[in-house]
């Protein structure tokens, strides 16, 4: 069973900041879902011999990566115009290096 402390820890991993009310709500809802998921334990015996990757991809699914050659990409201007805070050349973010 998840506790409020667990949910706070997971939220930190996921870069989410939750209010106390949200934490309580999510603890209950996530526990209900996790309890349902526990039904998978019924299959433990039958899964013991299986590898997780077996048969995962069908024969149609051959992952093909493109050749490693340079091709035209989107312009810097097109990309930066979608940014909430940018200069003409780059994304601007809060300072991450402190002065010594």
């Amino acid at each position: 069973m998840l506790t409020v402390k667990d949910v706070s820890y997971i939220a930190k991993l996921a870069n989410l900041k939750l209010s106390d009310d949200d934490k309580t709500l999510f603890v209950d809802q996530l526990n209900t879902v996790l309890q349902h998921i526990e039904q998978l334990n019924e299959l433990d015996e039958c899964l013991a011999e299986r590898s997780s990757s077996a048969n995962h991809k069908s024969s149609l699914q051959k992952m093909i990566l493109r050749e490693d050659v340079v091709s035209p990409s989107l312009s810097r201007e097109d990309i930066l115009k979608e940014c909430a805070h940018a200069s003409k050349e780059s994304f601007i973010v809060p300072k991450v290096v402190e002065a010594s």
């Binding site: 998840l2 667990d6 949910v7 997971i10 939220a11 991993l13 996921a14 870069n15 989410l16 900041k17 939750l18 949200d22 999510f26 809802q29 996530l30 209900t32 879902v33 349902h36 998921i37 039904q39 998978l40 299959l43 039958c46 899964l47 299986r50 590898s51 997780s52 990757s53 077996a54 048969n55 995962h56 069908s58 149609l60 699914q61 051959k62 992952m63 093909i64 990566l65 493109r66 989107l74 097109d78 990309i79 979608e82 940014c83 909430a84 805070h85 994304f91 973010v93 809060p94 300072k95 991450v96």
Partner: protein, 494 residues
């Protein structure tokens, strides 16, 4: 004057090519209807009035000049708000992509959009959805709910609820949606239209905002089987920009060759759970009716067991949330979309942006996905879910390749459209409503939902047909065409 929104896509193309119809008039008829009806349904989040009319005029000009036009010339199409259309807004119905404020605009076209435009389709606008396609009711959209055109007090299904409602209310001739666990088929069933999820890899995901990449597939909504086939001819092609796009050219057969409705000697399986108490009686009756009419046309039926299907929802909510937690890590406010500018520290900026930008359902799924992937829990959840996925996949494959069935027929959803708020407070109940659609996503199989009449409350019902991978779509289209001749798509008076 004749109502042009009643024409099928194939009729529109034929009449435009024969010069008996103008693309501009078709486009205008749809835009007028959108103006009149969209305020009460809220199927669209954005309408491209000007660019749609320009494209339609361009097609008419080509025809006047005697130039060739594409195979979807003048067909009005709507796009789900997670499919990139160059210079048009894309927000996945989320505030984190600036839904209500400053929506993100796609700097490029999705592969499917490129194909539609190459074939002279007219793109009308963008349709509403559950935020990041996470939901079964279109209640989690930052743009507010979409209403089911058959009963405005009920949900249209989800997550592609706007696309389904738009096609049902004739606010679009065709719409594209995306299906990760049933997000095309369930709303198609709730709104009384056809909705197809192709084989995984059959349609390129390039330009689709990702939810769970190993399950996501783009597919069409239409009111006729022949229109589903027409769209598939256009969008199902190998695309090197998607590494999971099926590379073999033989795979992409002709879809329009398989809509004659010849189902004689097709062997169809019905999973026994379709007759369980968990499925509403009206749904079971329509399934039985469909079975009887297909039997008259020479199809053979057998009940089968799909023993691991009951685990599908659990497997799905581990795998899909795990992939989502990773895919949605990119929304941090730095490069695009909403940013919480009140923060002076980088980490606080990330957290502020994500907490204010994502809605509750998305946060819930990110938390679940992060948990099942976290150190100490990965084997117990994620790895186990992958193993059960392979079991489920094997069961489906043995139905097709060992027992030699051509298709599996089952309900699309255990109920008809439910009322707003009925399930939104209880995430598990909402998740369990996907029980019949998730299996084909986990197994990568093509599946279609076809309308099968109305219940006593005048709500549409749907039957789902799942096919084997590869050429399986051909038997789906044959069954769908035959079914359509016996049970026409219900006509909505609106």
């Amino acid at each position: 004057m004749k109502d042009l929104t009643l024409l099928s896509a194939n009729q529109i193309v034929k009449q435009i090519k024969e010069k008996s119809l103008k693309a501009f008039d078709v486009c205008k008829a749809y835009l007028d209807r959108i103006e009149k009806l969209n305020p009460s349904i809220n199927a669209y989040t954005h309408i491209n009035k000007e660019s749609a009319l320009n494209k339609a005029s361009e097609i008419d000009q080509k025809i006047a000049n005697g130039e060739p036009v594409g195979s979807m010339a003048g067909v009005p199409v709507a796009l789900k708000d997670n499919i990139s259309h160059k210079n048009q807004p894309l927000s996945s119905a989320s505030d984190i992509l600036g839904a209500n404020d400053r929506p993100y605009h796609s700097p490029y076209n999705a592969f499917v959009v490129e194909r539609l435009l190459d074939e002279d389709a007219v793109i009308l606008g963008r349709t509403n959805m559950d935020e990041f396609a996470m939901g079964s009711s279109t209640e989690t959209s930052a743009y507010g709910v979409t209403r089911n055109p058959w009963d405005l007090e009920r949900v249209p299904g989800g997550s592609s609820g706007g696309s389904a409602a738009a096609v049902a209310a004739r606010l679009a001739c065709i719409a594209l949606g995306s299906d990760t666990g049933g997000s095309i088929r369930q709303p198609a069933s709730f709104c009384g239209v056809l909705g197809l999820k192709p084989t995984y890899g059959e349609v390129s995901r390039f330009g689709l905002a990702a939810f769970a990449s190993s399950l996501d597939q783009i597919g069409p909504f239409a009111r006729k089987t022949e229109d589903i086939a027409l769209v598939m001819e256009v969008i199902a092609k190998h695309d090197p920009q998607d590494s999971t796009s099926i590379p073999s050219d033989d795979f992409y057969g002709s879809y329009l060759d398989h809509i004659q409705g010849d189902v004689e000697n097709l062997k169809i399986a019905i999973p026994s759970f379709s007759w369980s108490d968990a499925v509403d009686k009206d749904i079971q009756n329509s399934l039985l009716q469909t079975k009887k009419s297909l039997q008259k046309r020479g199809a053979r039926f057998e009940d089968i067991d799909l023993p691991y299907n009951k685990y599908a929802v659990s497997v799905y909510y581990i795998l899909a949330t795990a992939e989502a937690s990773s895919n949605l890590a990119r929304y941090d406010g730095v490069q695009y979309g909403f940013r919480d500018n009140n923060q002076t520290d980088l980490e606080e900026m990330y957290q502020g942006t994500r907490s204010k930008g994502f809605g509750k359902e998305v946060q819930r799924r990110i938390l679940l996905g992060t948990y099942v992937l976290s150190s100490g829990y990965y084997d117990a959840y994620y790895k186990k879910a992958q193993k059960v996925q392979s079991l489920i996949k094997e069961t489906y494959h043995s139905v097709f390749f060992k027992d030699n069935f051509d298709a599996i027929m089952l309900p699309t959803s255990p109920t008809a459209a439910f009322r707003f708020g009925e399930k939104s407070q209880d995430p598990l109940q909402m998740y369990l409503s996907d029980i019949f659609t998730i299996g084909s996503n986990l197994a990568g199989l093509p599946a279609i939902s076809v309308p099968s009449g109305l219940n006593e409350n005048n709500l549409p019902l749907g039957v789902q047909i799942i096919g084997p991978p590869g050429k399986g779509l051909q038997s789906l289209l044959a069954i769908s065409s035959a079914h359509e001749s016996d049970t026409p798509v219900p006509k909505l008076e609106m």
